[in-house]
Structure formats: structure tokens, C-alpha cells
């Protein structure tokens, strides 16, 4: 058991990444995640066989990740919504090149420059691809500082396991929050050897190439199918969620991240008023926990999706429920966090 220390969310991600063996960080300042960039600077600039670069832009930062990841090291970048938009080009290339890396998005209000308050407006961008082409990231949605730590460490393992970019999708609130965290001893995981694909110079072997294109559509289609197979496997094996009070609930709220924290308060407030509601909290947004939602819809006939957006995840919930139950939505946008009271009011409207 490690000891518990009080840490700010953004810094906890940095510490977790370093403990997961990440020595290469490339980023560009943006609120509300700048503490993470600063933390990596403070630590990595003093380490050997490590690099921290404040890049000239998010575009450059993600491409530095591309280069570093191609050589087999654990590499990472982080940003918030507008900066993540700039990274999409690079992420799409990384997806086809099948390079493992971790991208952190501490979402803020949008669109445009938006504001710097917490938001969940980048759900579509994160889970449906984000850049051009047919690809997916693995998307992890922490809802506490402890989970920021655990999921950041998992993110590097998942990236290596599937040779796929992994996104930590948090928000400004989680990044700024101080909580006690523990850096747990982690069981050793068996990860595939990178030795047969990384770019290291061709001594004693044939030259290798990292090539995110093929002008022959029949070849490119095959690569797309291969990616599709990989995503299928990820959907089978990596779904994570938390279910709270789902037995005998009159209504299930589906929420992730910061909103899910608030919903836990709503559940106990509702109980005091004699209303029995439950929560399904997706921890992986891709792969989405569709099976458990579908199964729950056999017994519970009312769902309420709450998001800090105009309604994005609600589409995945509807697909998962597949008409078996009523799916309602409540959202706040532009960086406004819904209060437990207003969520409970929505619950009552649905019942």
C-alpha cells in the first residue's frame, strides 16, 4: 500500500504518467490543464533519457509524440478543447500508423474559444474519431483524482497493448480539484514486445517504415478492416463502467466524469425523498458500455442522461437501450455545472 497524498488533478496525471514510465512529454499551455504541462517540465527536465518540450503549437506537440512513439518510448501530450482540435490531424495519422500514446483532454466550454469552465462538449470528438477517417481512440473518463491516476497508468498499458492512441477525457473541474490519492503498487501486466515494429535504425535488419497512407485503395481498405478488427476486440475486452443502485431503481441516470460525481449526491438526496434511482457511469466512453445499459433496460423503463453538453452521449445511450426504455436528457452547456437540485428536479419530471 502506498501512502495517500493530497494532489491537484492535473499534477496527479503527471505523476501517474511518470510512474507509468512516460519520459517524453510535449505540450502547449492552455487553461485548465496548464499545471500538468508545468509538472512535466519540473520533473522531466531533471531526468536522464527524458524530454519535455513546450512545443510551438498543439499541432507540433502531437507530431513530436508521433515521432517519439515511433521509436518505442512512452509519450504523451495534454491540452484542453481548442488545443485538442488542433491535435486531431496528428491523432488521425497516429491512429493509422498504430502508434501507442496518451492524449489528455481536460475539457472546457466551447465551441470556439469558448470559456475556461468545465465542460463535456468534446464527447463526440473524442469517441467518434475526432479527426478525419475511420478510427477510434480508447477513451477513458475518470471522475476523481484517484481515477485520474489509475486511468492514466492504465492508459499507457492499453496504448501499448493495442498500439492505439488512448485519450483521458476529463474536464477542468477534475484537473483543478485537490484530493487524496494513492499511487498503488500495480501488478505487472504482460504487454506485447515492441521490438518488431519500432524505428531504431536498421542495424542487423531490413529497414522499417511508419507509413500512414497507401494510395492503393484495396490496401487502405485492408488496413481499415484491420483497425476495425482491433476496435471490435477492444469493445469485447475493455469495457469499464460503474453501476450504483441499479437493482430495483425506478430510473437510471447515465453520466460520466464530473457529472457522475454529482449524480451520486442526487441518488442519496432522492432516497431521502423516497425516490429510488440508480447510476450507470461509463468509465470507458469508447468502448461504450452498451451491453450493461441494454440489459438494464429490460427491467428499468426510464433513463435520464445528464451531461455538461447539449446532448452527445445520450445518442450512445439511445443506441444501447435500443427502444426498450424511455431515454430522457438533461444538460447544461458552455461551462455550467448542473447542481444536484436541478438534476433531482429533472428526475421527478421523468417519473
Amino acid at each position: 500500500m502506498g501512502e495517500k497524498i493530497l494532489m491537484k488533478g492535473n499534477e496527479a496525471i503527471g505523476e501517474a504518467a511518470i510512474r507509468a514510465g512516460c519520459r517524453y512529454y510535449f505540450g502547449y499551455p492552455i487553461t485548465p490543464q496548464s499545471e500538468l504541462t508545468a509538472y512535466m517540465a519540473k520533473k522531466l527536465l531533471k531526468m536522464k533519457n527524458a524530454a519535455f518540450i513546450q512545443a510551438e503549437s498543439e499541432i507540433a506537440a502531437i507530431n513530436m509524440v508521433y515521432g517519439a512513439a515511433a521509436t518505442g518510448v512512452r509519450a504523451m501530450t495534454s491540452s484542453s478543447s481548442p488545443g485538442i482540435s488542433l491535435k486531431q490531424e496528428g491523432i488521425s495519422y497516429i491512429a493509422l500508423a498504430e502508434l501507442p500514446c496518451v492524449v489528455v483532454n481536460m475539457m472546457r466550454g466551447g465551441p470556439g474559444l469558448g470559456d475556461i469552465q468545465p465542460s463535456q462538449g468534446d464527447y463526440f470528438q473524442a469517441t467518434k474519431g475526432g479527426g478525419h477517417g475511420d478510427y477510434h481512440l480508447i477513451v477513458l473518463a475518470p471522475s476523481s483524482v484517484q481515477e485520474l491516476v489509475d486511468l492514466t497508468m492504465d492508459a499507457f498499458d492499453l496504448a501499448d497493448k493495442y498500439r492505439n492512441p488512448v485519450m483521458i477525457l476529463g474536464d477542468g473541474l477534475l484537473g483543478q480539484m485537490m484530493e487524496a490519492v494513492e499511487f498503488k503498487e500495480r501488478p505487472k501486466v504482460d504487454l506485447p514486445d515492441k521490438g518488431d515494429w519500432i524505428i531504431t535504425g536498421c542495424k542487423d535488419r531490413e529497414p522499417r517504415h511508419i507509413v500512414p497512407f497507401d494510395l492503393d485503395p484495396s490496401v487502405l481498405e485492408k488496413w481499415n478492416y484491420n483497425l476495425g478488427e482491433k476496435y471490435k476486440k477492444i469493445k469485447e475486452k475493455e469495457v469499464r463502467y460503474e453501476a450504483v443502485n441499479t437493482e430495483n431503481a425506478e430510473l437510471i441516470i447515465v453520466a460520466y466524469g464530473t457529472v457522475a460525481r454529482i449524480v451520486k449526491t442526487v441518488i442519496s438526496n432522492a432516497k431521502e425523498e423516497g425516490i429510488n434511482i440508480g447510476l450507470i457511469r461509463p468509465i470507458t466512453l469508447f468502448p461504450f458500455p452498451e451491453k450493461v445499459i441494454n440489459k438494464t433496460a429490460d427491467n428499468v423503463k426510464k433513463f435520464l442522461v445528464v451531461e455538461m453538453s447539449l446532448g452527445q452521449m445520450v445518442e450512445d445511450v439511445k443506441l444501447s437501450v435500443n427502444g426498450k426504455a424511455e431515454v430522457n436528457f438533461y444538460g447544461r452547456a458552455g461551462g455550467i455545472i448542473p447542481s444536484p437540485e436541478e438534476i433531482l428536479k429533472e428526475v421527478k419530471k421523468c417519473l
Binding site: 510551438e56 507540433a60 507530431n63 515521432g67 518510448v73 495519422y93 535504425g201
Partner: protein
């Protein structure tokens, strides 16, 4: 009789996909010869661009990474920082380096990244069929400057070597041409110097190579080489703009 000139080992056997007479091929060969002469092929990682040389990964007989349009210097930075003992070079066109990738090249140079950049200035976007490049000469007719480049609204052609040599981070910057044997011999020497700078860990090196695009200039290869001499060199003077400060 002994072979005194042949194909360098650092080139594969794959025939180039370039148009007849295109100088990209000469530039490839010179880089490959330099890698051979330094004996670093097996420790080299190249980064190729988007442009006519997008297939350069098939031609260089070493590990290669393909970049998004303009991003090669950032990718090379990531590679070099994680493998400081590898020899890392980028190969980029003028649209790639001087337009969409301006930020990446300026900042890689400014950080003094210990990489070598081979910059092919052919005053045009070759791959996409002959549009105006940032290096297109004033008055030059292209698909997107059909009445000639008008500097008043389209800007003046950018002298990349001069611009980058104002940066303290850049160690070696030169401009060469491939339009005749004497210039090719000088170009080779310059490319060799650039890689020497990297081998000595002295920082950022770039060789701008004035290069022909007979196809999109609408000239025969022989005329195109002449056009480099008569039109490009007067505006883009050859020479070294930055050389390593000798440590006394």
C-alpha cells in the same frame, strides 16, 4: 577497370517515381552518398514529407517515418529527443516546409534541434499539379497565379535560408543548386557538412536545394535546369548563410 561511380547502398533498388529530369532524384542520391560515406545508414532515421517525395521511404535504404504535410520537423524532434544517438533527417518540399510547416521548421531551428533538414525549393507545388508555393518567383505563372505571382497581393517569394539564419539556434544553413555538375559537386559537399554538424552534435542544419520541376514549369528537363540558373539563382543566391562557430 574499377567502378568509380555507382548506386549508393543507402538507396534501395526501387526506381524513383519522379518525372524525367526532376532534380528530386539527384538530391536523394546525394543524401544517400553522404550516409554511405559517414557509414551511418544503419543508424539513420529519415522523415519524408507530403509532396512528390512522399514515396521517399521506398527509396532511402534506412528506417523511415512518413509525416503529415509540413510536420516533419516536429516528428524528427520527437525521434531525435528519444534517440539522441540516431542520425535524423527530414526531406521536405517548399510547400511542405515554407507554407504549411512554417511554424514547425522555424521552431525546430530555433530550438537548435540536432537534426538535418533537406529542403527542396522548386518554386512550386509539384505533387498537386503546379500551384503557387511560398517560393514561387514574382511574375511566375502557376495554376493558382495564372496571371503571374503578384507580390502585392500574393506576397514575395520567401528566402527561407536567409530567414532561418537570423535564428541563433541554427548552426548550419546553406543554399545549393543541382542544375549543373559543378553545382551538384558543391551541393554534395554542403549536405556532407550539414550531416557532419549533426554528427558533431552541434545542432540544427539545413540545406536548401534549388531544384527543378520540369513538369509543372512546362519546360523540358534541360530547359528547366537552365531556368534554375537564369531565374532562381539570381533571386536565391547560393552559398552558406550560417556556419558553425569555430570553438577557439
Amino acid at each position: 577497370m574499377k567502378k568509380v561511380f555507382g548506386r549508393p547502398v543507402s538507396l534501395t533498388d526501387v526506381p524513383f517515381t519522379y518525372c524525367p529530369g526532376c532534380h528530386h532524384g539527384i538530391a536523394h542520391r546525394l543524401v544517400a552518398e553522404v550516409l554511405d560515406e559517414f557509414g551511418v545508414r544503419e543508424n539513420t532515421i529519415g522523415v519524408c514529407p507530403v509532396g512528390c517525395s512522399v514515396f521517399a521511404y521506398l527509396f532511402f535504404n534506412c528506417d523511415m517515418v512518413c509525416a503529415a504535410h509540413g510536420r516533419a520537423p516536429a516528428i524528427a524532434t520527437g525521434i531525435k529527443r528519444s534517440r539522441p544517438d540516431s542520425i535524423v533527417f527530414t526531406y521536405q518540399g517548399d510547400g511542405d516546409l515554407a507554407s504549411i510547416g512554417t511554424a514547425e521548421i522555424v521552431h525546430a531551428a530555433n530550438r537548435g534541434e540536432n537534426i538535418t533538414v533537406i529542403f527542396i525549393n522548386n518554386a512550386i507545388y509539384g505533387m498537386t499539379g503546379g500551384q503557387m508555393a511560398p517560393t514561387t518567383l514574382a511574375g511566375q505563372i502557376t495554376q493558382t497565379s495564372p496571371y503571374g505571382r503578384d507580390p502585392k497581393t500574393m506576397g514575395y517569394p520567401i528566402r527561407v535560408s536567409e530567414m532561418l539564419s537570423t535564428l541563433k539556434g541554427a548552426t548550419y544553413i546553406s543554399r545549393v543548386a543541382l542544375n549543373k555538375p559543378a553545382n551538384i559537386i558543391k551541393a554534395k559537399k554542403s549536405i556532407k557538412k550539414a550531416f557532419q554538424v549533426q554528427l558533431d552534435r552541434k545542432g540544427f542544419s539545413l540545406v536548401e536545394i534549388l531544384s527543378s520541376c520540369p513538369t509543372n514549369w512546362g519546360l523540358s528537363p534541360v530547359e528547366a535546369s537552365k531556368w534554375v540558373e537564369e531565374n532562381m539563382i539570381p533571386y536565391y543566391p547560393l552559398g552558406e548563410f550560417r556556419v558553425p562557430e569555430e570553438v577557439a
